[in-house]
Point group: C2
Chain length 300, copies 2
Amino acid sequence: MSLVVVGSVALDSVETPGETRENVLGGSAVFFSYAASFFTPVRLVSVVGGDWPAEHTELLRSRNIDTAGLQVVAGAKTFRWRGKYLEDMNDRETLDVQLNVMEQFDPVLSEEYRRCKFLFLANDPPDLQIRILEQCPGAMLTMADTMDLWINSQRAGLMDLLGRVDGFVLNDSEAKMLTGEENLVRAGHAVRKLGPRFVVIKKGEHGAMFFSRHETYVLPAFPTPNVIDPTGAGDSFAGGMMGYLAEQGSFEPATLKQAMAYGTLAASFTVEGFSLDGLKKIEREDLDRRMEEYRKMLSF
Amino acid sequence: MSLVVVGSVALDSVETPGETRENVLGGSAVFFSYAASFFTPVRLVSVVGGDWPAEHTELLRSRNIDTAGLQVVAGAKTFRWRGKYLEDMNDRETLDVQLNVMEQFDPVLSEEYRRCKFLFLANDPPDLQIRILEQCPGAMLTMADTMDLWINSQRAGLMDLLGRVDGFVLNDSEAKMLTGEENLVRAGHAVRKLGPRFVVIKKGEHGAMFFSRHETYVLPAFPTPNVIDPTGAGDSFAGGMMGYLAEQGSFEPATLKQAMAYGTLAASFTVEGFSLDGLKKIEREDLDRRMEEYRKMLSF
């Protein structure tokens, strides 16, 4: 079923202990779209500047990602992020953010996009996420992500958003910050009680937790010795998860758990290369092959 | 099959954000023994002072834990440890250690104990662990634990030990410290290459990883909202794991994975109370019931 993602498209500069890459393709909507594209066509809504290399758009199109919603503002610059990973690759510092064209981002979706059945609101200010949500009243499943900045600075808007989305995705430190609960099981259910039918807490190299009224579970990350660049892992997780749900056209408990597993594996490929390199190397059958290994790993 | 554990017996004082307990029953060999006792009889080798409450020995005996190897030195004091857990319960500070009677600990095992088939060397100086290992040349399976102190101060002895044991258990920060590898998959295999046939990295609330020549896997911790006191979780993990292996009399790959799961669940009960309170509330069937939940959690 139709899947729309609204979020950032960026040129990232990433410093890791091993290597630095300048101005590589990034952004939450890009990682989400690419990961989801293994399962279903995706419609990407974002904005870039006149400095945007056309080859990046071509790459997305080659993956059955509809870029009709990717606005190009000729006189402006694309959003840029620069980050540095520390030795253990779990901690990162944001060194520089240039919002540029994202600063004015407030998209109006086309009629066709508004009829989407699955909608993902990647990290954006909550009031913006709500304005997009309101454009898609017929969506069967809506999910949103957030970040620490909005938890601290736009809590009222975030609470409003939480009352409106079906699923909410955030990382472990954000869940603790939002709820004041140090125990992640308690934190997950506390977020759920703020509105969403289900909540996913992403724990990076330690996997992801799922919380609904009747279920609490955790799936470990797929153990990989080759962590090159964790950028985009969380968005790839969400893309793999929601791409699979849109493909299935369902969000039954069993489908959701399978989707959590696909999200986990999409993220495991993303971290194995810079930018989209890890995902560009694979096809759906590589995800399915790793899924077999992952299932076997968790069977005893 | 016969299982011997050599390690500490202690009186712990534990400060948590919620509550403080003074001089409660603790020590690596105590948590290990109690967790293993759900599966098999255990023989405990340790030493205590004249201040040791006889009721603690009675409790262990009631669990089919043989305390013939628990030496009581009338004129000395029992080992004491005081620790404080921070808000998130994963970080702890050791506030005070009084080795007391443990300082002279250098046990000579009885003939019967020396014929054990399964031997666990809880955290102790590596040279002491080796002296015990040498007393049990007929053991089918030997496993050892360690701590940061020995990695820093007795590396040569630790390397010797690693060349002699079948299985080695350590936590994530210790594995990184020992190998210099920040990626835990690499760290686990690097430890394995130092000698043991298999290595277990304990990740606390994030579960445990297993490494052998042909296998790499991670099992998540059982998600519990009630973490009261994490003290002894790692030793309970090892006890549940090795108790199950001794019960089965085997350490085939499938048995080892099942044992990893039992270790995980033993630890999950331990953290639900101070001292042994979490384990004292349960019987083997509670572990089996949680195992069913755990299996279901990891099935999709």
